[in-house]
C-alpha cells in the first residue's frame, strides 16, 4: 500500500473537496497505519492482481502429474500443511485426483483467490477447484474441456494468471501443426471464454515493432500494472514437450523449434508493441516489485543465462543477458526462478544438475552469484514466501523430460532461508507416497482478513 496514492488523488484531482471529507480522512489514516501494521504475504511470483494472504501461508498446493502404475495413476491436486506449529506440518493432508493424465503443469488463483485453475499441457484441459469454502480441502468444481475448439486452435495451456475478474492463459502450441506458434487466451472467472490473442509472427505482426524476428511462440505472461506492460516469453510446442527429452536434443530439426523471443504488449489494448530477441527459450518472467523498478528477469533454458528486460533512459524496453548460470559446458537447463519481494535476491533452479543458485540482483544489470545448494538429482520449481524466510522446491519438469532410474527423484522439499543459506525443514517423497511427479506450487491460507463468510462462492458447481 502506497501512502502517496490517496494523497495524489486528493491533491491533483478535480472537485474532490465536495466528496464527504470523512471518506478521505479515514482512508488516509488507514493508509498511514497500514504502512506500520498489517503484514500481507504471498508467494513472490504471484499475480499483482491477486488478493493477498495476511500473515504466513498455511498450505502449499502441488499440481502433480500422475504416473502409470503409481497409486491411482491420475494427475492430482495435493495439499501440504505448512503451518509451523501444526502436528501435520510438512505432511500431505489432502489429495484430489482428476481424470487421467493431462501433463499437469502450472496453475493459478482467480483474483479473489476463491478458485484455483490447473492446466494440462497435453489434453488442454483446465481443472477448476474451490479453495475458498475450505482451503485445507480444495474441492473440484468443473473442467474446461473444449479448450481447442473454444479458443480457435490454441492448445497447451501453460498456466493461469489472475487478472481483474478474468484469467489469462498463456499457451504453448496450436492444434494445426502442434508446433510453437500459439496464443494468449482469456476466460472469465466463471469459466466463460472471452478472447484469443495470437502471438506476433513476422508474417502477422499485429503492429509489433521488430517483428522480423518474431516467432509466435509463447510460455509465460506477466503484467507490470504501473507501466501497462504485459511481457511474454517463449518455449516450444507440443511436438517437442511431449517427446522424450533425449530424442529432442538428438534431433537438430527439433532443436530449431524453440522460442527465441519475448514480446512486450500494451496490456490494456492487448496489442504487441515490440519483439525482443532473447535466444535460447526464455521461460519464467519475474517483474520487480519496487515502485520505480521497471525491469523483469528471465532465464534461458538452452543457453543457461539470466536476462534482464528493462526500460532504458529513453523509455524504450530493451533486453540483454546479464549473467551466466554456471560455467558447466553444455549448460544446466535453468528452469524456474523466484525474485524476492525486495528485488534483491533471485533464486534460480537448474534441472540438469539439481541445484539452486542464489544471485544478488541489487544491481539488476550486474547479478552476482552468492550461494548454491544441491536440492536433489533434478529440480524444477522454486517458490519463495513474501518475507523471504521460506523456500519450497519441486522436482518434475515434464513427464517425458524428467530423468530416468535413480535420478528420477520426485519430491517437495521445504527450506528455511536466512539470507545466507538454505536449511532443510521437511522432505516429501512423492514416489514413496504414490502421488506422482510434483510440479507447480501455490500458497493457500484461511487468513485473508476474512471472518464469517458473507457471500457464497461466486461460481457454484455446474
Amino acid at each position: 500500500m502506497n501512502p502517496s496514492n490517496i494523497k495524489t488523488s486528493i491533491n491533483t484531482h478535480v472537485r474532490v473537496s465536495k466528496i464527504p471529507k470523512a471518506v478521505f480522512a479515514g482512508a488516509l489514516a488507514v493508509t498511514l497505519s497500514c504502512s506500520l501494521g498489517t503484514t500481507l504475504a504471498d508467494e513472490t511470483c504471484s499475480s499483482p492482481y491477486l488478493a493477498r494472504i495476511e500473515g504466513q501461508e498455511e498450505f502449499v498446493y502441488v499440481w502433480t502429474l500422475g504416473v502409470e502404475g503409481l497409486g491411482d495413476g491420475s494427475d492430482k491436486l495435493v495439499t501440504v500443511d505448512v503451518k509451523p506449529d501444526s502436528p501435520t506440518y510438512g505432511k500431505v493432508i489432502n489429495s484430489v485426483s482428476v481424470e487421467g493424465r493431462n501433463e499437469a503443469h502450472h496453475g493459478g488463483f482467480t483474483d479473489d483467490r476463491r478458485q484455483l485453475w490447473l492446466a494440462g499441457l497435453d489434453t488442454s484441459r483446465v481443472f477448476i477447484f474451490d479453495v475458498y469454502t475450505d482451503p485445507s480441502k480444495p474441492r473440484y468444481v468443473k473442467t474446461i474441456d473444449n479448450f481447442e475448439k473454444t479458443t480457435g486452435g490454441a492448445i497447451g495451456p501453460h498456466g493461469a494468471y489472475a487478472l481483474p475478474g478474468r484469467m489469462l492463459i498463456p499457451c504453448l502450441s496450436n492444434a494445426k501443426d502442434k508446433g510453437g506458434r500459439t496464443a494468449l487466451v482469456e476466460f472469465s472467472n466463471d469459466g466463460n471464454y472471452i478472447a484469443t490473442h495470437w502471438l506476433p509472427t513476422k508474417e502477422d505482426a499485429h503492429g509489433a515493432a521488430d517483428a522480423k524476428i518474431a516467432d509466435g511462440y509463447g510460455y509465460d505472461a506477466r503484467v507490470l500494472p504501473r507501466k501497462n506492460a504485459l511481457l511474454t516469453s517463449s518455449f516450444t510446442g507440443w511436438n517437442n514437450y511431449m517427446t522424450e527429452f533425449s530424442k529432442v536434443t538428438a534431433d537438430p530439426e527439433a532443436m530449431k523449434h524453440f522460442g527465441q523471443t519475448m514480446v512486450m504488449w500494451d496490456f490494456h489494448a492487448r496489442q504487441p508493441k515490440k519483439v525482443l530477441q532473447v535466444p535460447g527459450a526464455p521461460l519464467e518472467i519475474r517483474w520487480a516489485w519496487g515502485a520505480s523498478h521497471n525491469y523483469a528477469f528471465t532465464a534461458t533454458a538452452l543457453t543457461s543465462k539470466l536476462w534482464l528486460v528493462y526500460m532504458d533512459d529513453k523509455g524504450e524496453w530493451q533486453a540483454k543477458d546479464v549473467a551466466p548460470i554456471s560455467n558447466v559446458k553444455g549448460g544446466v537447463l535453468p528452469v524456474d526462478i523466484s525474485l524476492s519481494a525486495d528485488d534483491k535476491t533471485l533464486f534460480v533452479c537448474s534441472f540438469m544438475d539439481g541445484k539452486c543458485r542464489v544471485f544478488d540482483v541489487s544491481d539488476p544489470h550486474r547479478p552476482k552469484q552468492i550461494y548454491e545448494k544441491q536440492i536433489g538429482r533434478q529440480v524444477n520449481m522454486v517458490s519463495e514466501s513474501w518475507d523471504g524466510k521460506r523456500v519450497y522446491f519441486t522436482s518434475s519438469l515434464l513427464a517425458r523430460w524428467d530423468k530416468q532410474g535413480a535420478d528420477n527423484e520426485q519430491f517437495l522439499r521445504g527450506y528455511a532461508w536466512n539470507g545466507k543459506e538454505l536449511t532443510p525443514r521437511f522432505d516429501l517423497d512423492f514416489t514413496a507416497l504414490k502421488l506422482g511427479r510434483p510440479h507447480h506450487m501455490l500458497f493457500g491460507a484461511k487468513n485473508m482478513g476474512s471472518g464469517p463468510r458473507l457471500t457464497a462462492l461466486n461460481n457454484p458447481p455446474q
Partner: protein, 231 residues
Amino acid sequence: MSRTRGRLFTIALVLGACRTIVTAASEDLLPRNSDYDYEPPAPGSYTLPAIKTAADGALLDSSGKAINLRDLTHGRITVLGFIYTRCAAPKGCPYATNVFDQLHSLSAKDKALTLNMRLVSVSFDPDHDTPQHLAEYSEWVRETKSGCDWRFVTAKSRTELDSILSGYGQAVDKRSNPSDAQGPLYHILRVFLIDRDGRIRNIYSSATLDPRLVLADVKTLLLEETKLSKQ
C-alpha cells in the same frame, strides 16, 4: 429515422464535435501519475470483447424507491462499482468513489458523456447503507446540476444482495475483527464497464481503475456504436 438510429446519429455528431475538447480536458484533469505511469491507448484503437451479461436484481435507490438493477445497466454505457460507505481501505471504496467523481466531473464538460454515460455505486452493506444514508453520502452529487447520471443504490434484502454479488463475482466477507481500521468488510475492488445492451465489457480492480483507461473504454464503446450505425 428510427429511435435507435437517431440516438446513434446524435452520439456520432456529439462525439465528433467534442473529441478534441475532451482529450484536452482529460490531459489536464487526469494527469499521468506514479501509479499509472503510461499513456493510455487511444479510444477505438482496440476492442473490448463481451465478458458476460450484467446480472439483474432488486434494489432501492437513495430515495427509497424500488428499482431493478437491469434498468441501470441498459440504455447507457454504465460504469458500475460495488462499494460500502464504511470502507476506509486506501485503494478500496474511497478510491473508487474518487475516480467516479472524476469521471462525473469530466462528463459535465462533454455532452457525449453527459448523454451516454451512467455511473452506478451499489452498496453491499445494506444494514448500514440505508437509502437515507446513501442520500446523505451522495448529497454533493445531487447538488451538482451538470454531468452524467450517477446513482447510489443499496440492496433490498440480504437474499437479493447475495444474488447480485454472485452474478457479478464480487467477493465480500466480514472481517474477523469488526473494528478493523479498514472497515468491517473484506472485499476486492470490482468496477464494471457495461455497454448499452447490458453486457459487461471490462472489469477493473484498484490496480487498473485508472480514470484515463475507463474514459478511453467508454469512448471506445461509443466509437464502436458509431461504426455499427454506419454498417
